[in-house]
Symmetry: C2
């Protein structure tokens, strides 16, 4: 079975106002700024990352109320930004507010 599951926590930055697709579906975009320590080949390392996030539908409406700089954990899947693009976007399908 094909898997594409991501859970990424971080700080909400560049939170744009809610907008709508041409089909009238709510659309929200922001960036998730992540920092953590990860273990790789038995060695701990620091990881930092800044990923664009896209949210559609009712979840977009809900997340539009987030305070910028909120700490959240986003669950979703990765996709190309556009057909011609090599860069990736995290499509959020669920989220949770995190304690700092």
């Amino acid at each position: 079975m094909s898997r594409n599951d991501v859970t990424l926590s971080g700080v909400v930055t560049e939170l744009e106002p809610l907008r709508y697709t041409p089909a009238g579906i709510p659309l929200l975009t922001f960036r998730l700024t992540h920092q953590s320590r990860q273990v790789e080949a038995s060695q701990e390392r620091s990881v930092s990352l800044d990923l664009p996030v896209m949210v559609l539908g009712d979840l977009a409406r809900e997340m539009a109320g987030l305070t910028p700089e909120s700490n959240v954990a986003v669950r979703g899947f990765l996709a190309r930004r556009s057909l011609k693009s090599l860069s990736v976007v995290l499509h959020a399908t669920a989220y949770k507010l995190e304690m700092e």
Copy 2:
């Protein structure tokens, strides 16, 4: 707690020969070509994605024996390709061969 968990399945492409870091740690790189259908805002959509993967240590040695075009599910974390880069790499910490 900070989360950075990815499980992505796909086809192994551009599998490079095993090499070693300056510190002598085995290093393997390839690309994972992913296709799936995902549900977003109650609508099914097709997703395709091609992500660079990096593997270090014993796992790199093990995965170096993969047949190109193998179907695998890779588990790991996302990180920036380099300090100055905005593009992301999936660091594999585990994998599983998948049936086609």
